[in-house]
């Protein structure tokens, strides 16, 4: 165990004296329920004590085959801690190990249960307080995403406004599966509020995922591969629903759902729009043009064709050179090391863009 470093304070720019080289756009800090309960008011705390989260976690529905789905070394030997809950361990295993400039936390605890608005408001407030006090205060390289009560956009907007003054909250977090498709007008105020305060919206796999067109898969394998399938539907909804016309400056980051499928989705969206454009007067441009302008993708778990050159085909076909953001997905089992995960066919310039350049452009890090 390394000695705890004194907190350098949030105002100290970790990488001010060097070029930004590595940004991790998908890191999971994981709160235990008691950790969040400490930030709840008495009513919400009692609700949590009496009823728990009311719904099984996705890891209960679809157990991972080994080690609970986590890196084997990710379980802290500390009472009351689980994987992803210990800032010291994360600093040692991720920030220091890879000499990272920035790592963006995505806390998924608010996504998988349809809560009453009063509870959802407090719960997401607690997640953000916990991020602020436990993580952002711990290491200046850490950044956070704003957890929001997404089914109650008016409350979500208030939470966004509350956090907007803290620049370490770099994005707004939404689940890739919610009560309605994310392009539905219901959610537009959340995208608008994020855009208003200069934040992208990070859409992360997860959420209720409760009514697939094909029915429930039996295994984690299908469920997990299916994350890319869910996200195809979300991007279709955002384009067809007119989100990118409604919120012209919106930036969306599709996270942990793969990247290579984007090309085929563009072809089908463009073809269907060509045939049905009269039905969609809101759309003034080809669907692929909206995606070009508004959508980013994180790498992990990037597709691995047998011939790595085919990955380059897919990246070029989907016009992703400026849109890919490196992610490790620490501490999950399919963690991607920045030293090993990107195949050699990715040229030096593109590699630099993926590891940091595109995220610098998107989030304004180091500027």
């Amino acid at each position: 165990m390394t000695t705890v470093q004194p907190n350098p304070g949030p105002e100290t720019a970790a990488a001010a004296d060097r070029a930004v080289k590595l940004i991790d756009c998908d890191v999971h800090a994981q709160a235990t329920e008691p950790m969040l309960a400490a930030h709840l008011g008495p009513w919400a705390r009692a609700q949590l004590e009496h009823y728990g989260r009311r719904t099984p976690r996705i890891t209960d529905w679809y157990p991972r085959a080994r080690n609970g789905g986590m890196r084997v070394d990710a379980w802290p030997n500390k009472p009351g801690h689980i994987w992803g809950s210990d800032p010291e361990m994360l600093r040692e295993q991720l920030l220091d190990e890879y000499d990272m400039d920035y790592a963006i936390l995505e806390v998924l605890s608010g996504q998988d249960c349809y809560d009453h608005p009063d509870f959802s408001r407090e719960w997401n407030h607690a997640i953000n307080q916990w991020q602020t006090e436990t993580w952002l205060a711990f290491d200046p390289r850490l950044r956070a995403t704003i957890a929001v009560p997404h089914e109650y956009p008016d409350l979500a907007v208030k939470e966004i406004e509350k956090r907007a003054g803290d620049e370490r909250f770099v994005a707004v977090l939404l689940p890739a599966s919610a009560a309605e498709p994310l392009g539905a007008p219901k959610y537009w105020p959340i995208f608008a509020a994020a855009t208003e305060c200069g934040r992208p919206v990070v859409v992360h796999t997860g959420g209720y995922v409760d009514h697939r067109g094909a029915g429930y898969p039996s295994f984690y394998l299908d469920y997990h591969v299916g994350n890319g399938i869910v996200t195809q539907g979300q991007l279709t909804s955002m384009v067809a629903g007119g989100l990118f016309e409604e919120v012209p400056g919106v930036r969306v980051v599709m996270t942990e759902s793969g990247v290579a499928w984007a090309a085929a989705l563009r072809w089908s969206l463009d073809a269907a729009w060509e045939q049905m454009r009269a039905d969609h007067p809101r759309l003034t441009r080809r669907p692929s043009e909206y995606i070009d302008e508004h959508v980013w993708f994180t790498t992990q778990p990037i597709e691995e064709p047998e011939d790595p050159q085919h990955l380059m085909y897919a990246i070029e076909q989907a016009n992703l050179r400026d849109k890919l953001l490196f992610a490790t997905d620490y501490p999950h089992w399919d963690f991607d090391s920045p030293k090993q995960a990107l195949p050699r066919v990715i040229d030096k310039e593109l590699r630099q863009k993926i590891l940091s350049g595109n995220a610098v452009q998107l989030y304004g890090f180091g500027s």
């Binding site: 067109g213 295994f219 394998l221 089908s268 049905m276 969609h280 597709e303």
Partner: protein, 363 residues
């Protein structure tokens, strides 16, 4: 957008027929169901949500003007509107009327049986070029198996027709008895676009436009493909093959990259999956060519063909009377004569075990 182009001499693996009304099916239903239909005033709206009468996808503008937007309900209509025009070697008739009758499992089973009897007498008995998909109850695996056993011995039924939208993914063990019954009769399986309405089409909530519903068939087909492999259907039924119909195919390569990658990590969960998932898919799946949502440029299409590994997983479909444009034509034009013959003819002929009825020269 141009109209679909027919390929004379093709084995056309997706041609739609449908009864015009329940009146067409009454001769094949019991007194109980005739009375049920009559007294409940049930209309055969069937898959109106899938092919609304005025939608561009439902039929070409010309066909819609002629009042031909709905699939043929008589042999004469099929001859005039399709067979004389398209001149296929063989055509596989798909009647998706039973996809979403409603939730009463007894009615669903009765309608599936009636549809099969109607298809046999209305079309199959009249033309040796015709083959058909076998309708089964989409809500009861037990009833689906019984229908395969009842009607599936007729070799003109070449595949069991399953909607991609289902309550449980089709690979689920609940359905294995049906697959066993199909294999015993050398029947294959077709997954066809659309299906169970009344629940959301996307994995994450109800979409609000037809375009979204239409495109959702493609991700749903992907989920079904995962299910067939991960549930071990092909390990258990090595002769079974699946035709993915009207759900696109350009999504296939990238899905398999991810599927193989994940399987390498979590194979312990599905120990019966012994080979790479992509190997099962290449051995057991074909995909129909309509709609083909393709790269706009020739180089992109060449890359897609390279990533698919072989054009010979593709099987030509006119999808008559539906109109997805002529989107497959540019791809066919990029193939060698032999490859083109494979897509238009040989792949589906092998899939269904069809022999030529007359001399056919590939172009």
């Amino acid at each position: 957008m141009s109209a679909p182009v027919h390929e004379p001499g093709a084995v056309d693996c997706d041609v739609h027929v449908a009864p015009a009304a329940y009146a067409d099916l009454l001769p094949y239903l019991s007194d109980y169901w005739r009375q049920y239909i009559s007294e409940a005033a049930i209309r055969l709206t069937g898959v109106g949500h899938a092919y609304p009468p005025g939608a561009p996808v439902t039929a070409t503008a010309e066909a819609r003007e002629k009042g031909w937007a709905t699939p043929p309900s008589t042999y004469e209509q099929l001859v005039e509107r399709y067979l004389d025009v398209a001149q296929p070697q063989h055509a596989v008739l798909n009647c998706i009327t039973g996809f979403d009758v409603h939730r009463n499992p007894y009615f669903a089973a009765a309608v599936a049986a009636a549809l099969n009897d109607w298809v046999r007498e209305t079309f199959l008995d009249k033309d040796e070029r015709l083959r058909a998909s076998l309708s089964v109850s989409p809500v009861s695996p037990e009833d689906a198996t019984a229908e395969v056993e009842r009607a599936g011995d007729d070799p003109r039924f070449v595949q069991v027709l399953l909607p991609v939208r289902s309550d449980l993914p089709w690979g689920h063990k609940n359905n294995h008895a049906m697959f066993e019954a199909a294999c015993q009769r050398s029947l294959q399986v077709a997954l066809h676009a659309w299906g169970r309405a009344g629940k959301s089409m996307t994995p994450s909530g109800f979409a609000t436009t037809y375009l979204e519903d239409y495109l959702a068939n493609q991700p749903i087909a992907q989920a079904q493909m995962l299910s067939f492999v991960s549930e071990g259907v092909f390990a258990r039924f090595p002769d079974l093959r699946v035709m993915v119909t009207e759900c696109g195919f350009a999504w296939l390569p990238t899905l398999l990259w991810r599927f193989d990658k994940d399987w390498k990590g979590v194979w312990r969960e599905v120990p019966w999956v012994k080979d790479l998932p992509s190997e099962y898919v290449h051995r057991h799946f074909c995909l129909s060519t309509a709609p083909a949502h393709l790269p706009p440029d020739e180089a992109g299409r060449a890359q897609l063909l390279e990533m698919l590994g072989s054009s010979q997983m593709l099987a030509y479909a006119s999808d008559f009377p539906h109109d997805h444009g002529d989107s497959i034509a540019p791809l066919l034009d990029q193939l060698s004569g032999e490859e083109r013959h494979g897509v238009v003819h040989a792949t589906a002929a092998a899939f269904y075990g069809l022999k030529p009825l007359r001399t056919y020269t590939s172009t």
